[in-house]
């Protein structure tokens, strides 16, 4: 009896143990997680900054001083580069370890390992896109450069120094929630972080959707719906630039695309990824100093995509924003220069249809030859599930992403992906040199190493130069090449080399006194190379240039104000026409209020205005009604650009697309405008009743959210009171927006700068500072950036000093 009782107790204890010691579905390992000595309770912090005054590290050659200012921005002072990058790695790991690690897991396609089978398709896609494969190739090149290798090694050692210090008790809370542990950082992970950015910013294209549309509609209608450009665009490089080089010859023959239907394409990065930068010269500036402003508009997340810091060692004194996982500063300034980036959109991903010799897929056709493929078997570990193997075929173009194991409809559907980011590149070298650049020439040299994701690098120097380079690897193509599916068996479909560095679009010291970029067309039609993207910006760029053309003697406040400019150019070009054709007879009270509000509206999307909400609800409904044809299609299609939609509304009111498919009548654009107005107003009325609100302020309707990477509501912030929207200079939409705002005044007597971002240096949801800058960011406040000359310079904003000591 007693033995039975003991066994009963033992079994009970063991069952309890195994239930609470391991993750159960979504439930974290309860006993570990709730253990007040080690679990999540220990992640709550009472101080914004809680680091020891001294830490010793064996790796160091000399002591390193880290000064923290009020925004918890670390200012690192080292005596040599190795110690500097070690301290940078340590600092990033201290504040952002889980994020750094998770971004790499996501890039590599190992999410299933952490959260289980529901991420399987995502993981497969990441591997098929070849991100890790690309990172490995780049790493080889990076490690051949002794300075870059030393920088990466030191950074990696710094991250691992911190990881080694950690026991379960100190793991960031996300590890405890998901029940896994950090793994050591490697140089390959740094290389992968750069591919993560390349994926986010340069892999968005719609070639297969274009092919579907072309096959379905024919070229004439395709051109009407998706024109590449218009006569009076406002490109990145001003039209005053004359192309003073002899372009390389391109194949003039029109390449006949392969007209295949693709039912389903994989999900692309959000087209809202954008950015603005602008730089003015001394003549245009109120106090005679070059000024530069930049803000990358990316997905708004916590922990933030950016981390801000100063790096100081002999030969380098640089301040700015960096990406957790990448050594150096990505967007910033030093004593002599400032630089900022926006995404230089261009179609740098192309699809080649592969014709395999037989089912074994060991050879594929290339003109009259058969080339060998390479098979890579990817092993995907699935938490609490069976390991999945995925065979990926590599061709000389790149990996075959679409085949009958993945999205392809049959054995004939084999599309290989060719992408500039697959090639080996030394992008880190660019930032290494920019961080130390003294003048235009250094900047020019630094840019040569850069491939992907292509960026518009704005530049200003204290000595008075301003410049802008549309920089990255751009393939030479003939007209329309790669806009549609290409034939992998035909060597004439190959890219025709790369645009030489000096043939890339660039401009230095324009007569108008300023340069800007906002993801619009890079060049006008005189540029001798073919440049295409399906999604160029048409609004932010014109607003910035309009303002800059109007302003004289620009001040720092003007620069800040322009970053927060809420002028809705899109509304200004669509609303007058929409409102003029409204049939106002029979309006009910709500409709009359909306109508009056919109009549009086000055097109500014200020946070607390109501008109923008009415306009947006109206526009959304109208846009959906106009392009209902695309929703009904059985193959993947995209909807035409808003700019083209408005162009057609204004110029072609009886276009057949204005007819609604589901009704028997034939509608024109005026019918649609009237019916969508009513439905838009209904939508707002409904919003008001669900939210029990009498008014519909724009920021509440739009609901800008800064979302935790795991999408946990309680780790995220929503309802941020910020104006703007997509296509507006202040590009804060529901989920995207200015992820780091920076204004730099290049005063030769001492560079001054201001910055803010929607997040916090600490990535710990249990830190009092978590998300603390969001409100200031939303209201347009900037923090003066404390750009220190030396570790001994007194500064009242320094709140703590830490010394890393040689062990």
């Amino acid at each position: 009896m007693k033995v039975v009782r003991f066994l009963f107790a033992l079994v009970l204890t063991i069952s309890f143990f195994s239930y609470v010691n391991f993750k159960q579905g979504e439930i974290p390992p309860l006993a570990n997680f709730l253990n007040p000595f080690m679990g999540f309770w220990q992640n709550g912090e009472s101080e914004r900054l809680d680091v020891s005054e001294e830490l010793s590290a064996e790796y160091l050659k000399e002591n390193v001083t880290i000064k923290f200012d009020e925004q918890l921005i670390p200012h690192i002072f080292a005596k040599n580069d190795r110690d500097l990058y070690f301290a940078q790695g340590y600092m990033l790991a201290y504040h952002r370890l889980w994020q750094m690690d998770f971004q790499i897991i996501a890039t590599e396609g190992r999410v299933s390992e952490v959260i289980g089978g529901k991420a399987l398709e995502y993981d497969k896609l990441q591997r098929r896109k070849g991100l890790k494969y690309a990172a490995k190739r780049s790493l080889k090149t990076l490690e051949k450069d002794p300075e870059i290798l030393a920088m990466m090694n030191a950074y990696t050692a710094g991250v691992n120094y911190w990881i080694d210090e950690l026991s379960y008790k100190h793991y960031p809370v996300e590890y405890k929630l998901l029940g896994y542990a950090p793994k050591p950082w490697t140089n390959l992970k740094t290389a992968m972080l750069l591919k993560y950015m390349a994926d986010m910013l340069s892999s968005d294209e719609k070639d297969l959707e274009n092919t579907n549309a072309l096959k379905l509609l024919g070229m004439e209608e395709f051109e009407m719906l998706f024109p590449e450009t218009y006569d009076d665009i406002d490109p990145v490089i001003p039209s005053e630039r004359k192309w003073d080089f002899t372009p390389l010859k391109t194949n003039e023959e029109i390449i006949k695309p392969v007209l295949d239907f693709t039912a389903e394409t994989f999900e692309k990065p959000d087209p809202r990824h954008g950015s603005n930068n602008f730089v003015i010269d001394q003549r245009k500036s109120a106090n005679g100093h070059v000024m530069l402003a930049n803000e990358p508009d990316l997905s708004l997340n916590l922990p933030s995509i950016w981390y801000v810091m100063q790096l100081n060692a002999p030969g380098i004194n640089v301040f700015g924003a960096t990406l957790p996982g990448a050594p150096g500063i990505i967007v910033g300034f030093n004593d002599s220069i400032a630089w900022g980036v926006t995404n230089a959109k261009r179609d740098v991903v192309d699809w080649y249809k592969i014709n395999f010799r037989d089912k074994n897929r060991e050879e594929y056709q290339y003109d009259d030859k058969w080339l060998k493929t390479e098979k890579v078997i990817e092993k995907i570990v699935v938490r609490d599930g069976d390991t999945v193997y995925d065979t990926i075929i590599h061709t000389h173009y790149g990996p075959v992403v679409y085949d009958d194991n993945f999205l392809g409809k049959d054995a004939e559907t084999n599309y290989a992906m060719k992408w500039t980011a697959h090639e080996e590149s030394k992008d880190l070298r660019t930032f290494y040199e920019l961080n130390r650049a003294k003048n235009y020439n250094d900047y020019y040299e630094a840019l040569k190493h850069y491939r992907a994701p292509a960026q518009n690098f704005a530049f200003g120097s204290a000595s008075g130069d301003i410049a802008l380079w549309v920089n990255g690897a751009f393939p030479i193509k003939s007209k329309q090449q790669g806009k549609f599916l290409l034939d992998g068996a035909n060597s004439r479909h190959e890219w025709q080399g790369m645009i030489p560095h000096d043939h890339k679009a660039s401009m230095k010291n324009p007569t108008k006194g300023f340069l800007s970029s906002a993801n619009q067309h890079p060049v006008d039609s005189t540029y001798p190379y073919y440049a295409y993207d399906y999604n160029y910006e048409f609004y932010r760029n014109r607003r910035i240039n309009d303002r800059m053309n109007t302003l004289n003697s620009v001040t720092v406040d003007d620069m800040k104000e322009l970053q927060h400019d809420n002028y809705n150019y899109r509304a200004s070009e669509s609303l007058p026409m929409m409102i003029n054709v409204l049939d106002t007879t029979g309006f009910n009270a709500e409709q009359r209020i909306a109508y009056m509000m919109l009549r009086k509206w000055d097109y500014f999307n200020e946070a607390d205005r109501q008109a923008p909400s009415y306009y947006e609800a109206w526009w959304d409904d109208l846009y959906a009604k106009i392009w209902d044809e695309m929703d009904d299609s059985k193959v993947a299609l995209i909807k035409p650009h808003v700019f083209n939609t408005i162009y057609l509304m204004n110029n072609d009111s009886t276009n057949k697309y204005f007819d609604i498919q589901s009704t028997s009548e034939v509608e024109d654009v005026f019918d649609l405008i009237n019916s969508s107005f009513r439905e838009g107003v209904d939508k707002i009325t409904e919003w008001k009743s669900t939210n029990e609100s009498k008014s519909v302020e724009w920021y509440r309707y739009k609901n800008t959210k800064v979302t935790h990477l795991l999408k946990l509501a309680s780790f995220s912030v929503d309802g941020v009171k910020v104006g703007g929207n997509r296509n507006i200079v202040n590009a804060a939409s529901g989920t995207h927006g200015p992820s780091w705002r920076m204004v730099v005044e290049l005063d030769p007597a001492g560079v001054k700068a201001w910055g803010v971002y929607p997040g916090s240096q600490s990535g710990n949801p249990g830190n009092p500072s978590y998300g603390e800058m969001i409100d200031d960011w939303a209201s347009g406040k900037y923090y003066p950036l404390n750009f220190l000359k030396s570790s001994t310079e007194p500064n009242e904003h320094i709140i703590f000093t830490q010394t890393l000591e040689v062990d």
């Binding site: 003991f6 009472s46 929630l177 830190n767």
Partner: protein, 123 residues
């Protein structure tokens, strides 16, 4: 008396060892203490439950108060309870059950031998 000493011993040892050991050390401590100081199974279970449970609950409460419930207010939204004090209770419950089951196991194991000793004494 044995009950109180056992309870205190489990509590004190649980606290000390928890500072540097994994959570399941409290199961072992409760088991070993109850093995050394046996009683009836219910009183052993209760000793473990209260000894470890109170330590976990008070510790959670203290840590949370120090950090002004910043994180627990966020974590609680992931659980089907609405207040961070419920999370403190839940923590106490998990610690308590762990201690209680450990004590029950240790005690019932000891009882197997006690029976043998008693039999040999009377025979």
């Amino acid at each position: 008396m044995v009950f109180i000493v056992r309870l205190l011993l489990i509590g004190v040892l649980s606290f000390i060892f928890s500072l540097f050991s994994p959570w399941w050390m409290i199961v072992l401590i409760a088991a070993i203490v109850s093995f050394i100081m046996p009683g009836n199974n219910f009183s052993a279970f209760l000793g473990g439950l209260l000894g470890a449970g109170i330590v976990w609950m008070v510790m959670a409460w203290k840590v949370d108060a120090d950090a002004a419930s910043l994180l627990s207010d966020k974590i609680v939204k992931l659980f089907p309870v609405d207040e961070s004090s419920m999370l403190v209770l839940l923590t106490g419950a998990i610690g308590g059950i762990a201690g209680g089951l450990g004590a029950f196991t240790g005690n019932s194991f000891r009882q197997i031998f006690i029976k043998k000793v008693k039999q040999s004494f009377y025979s």
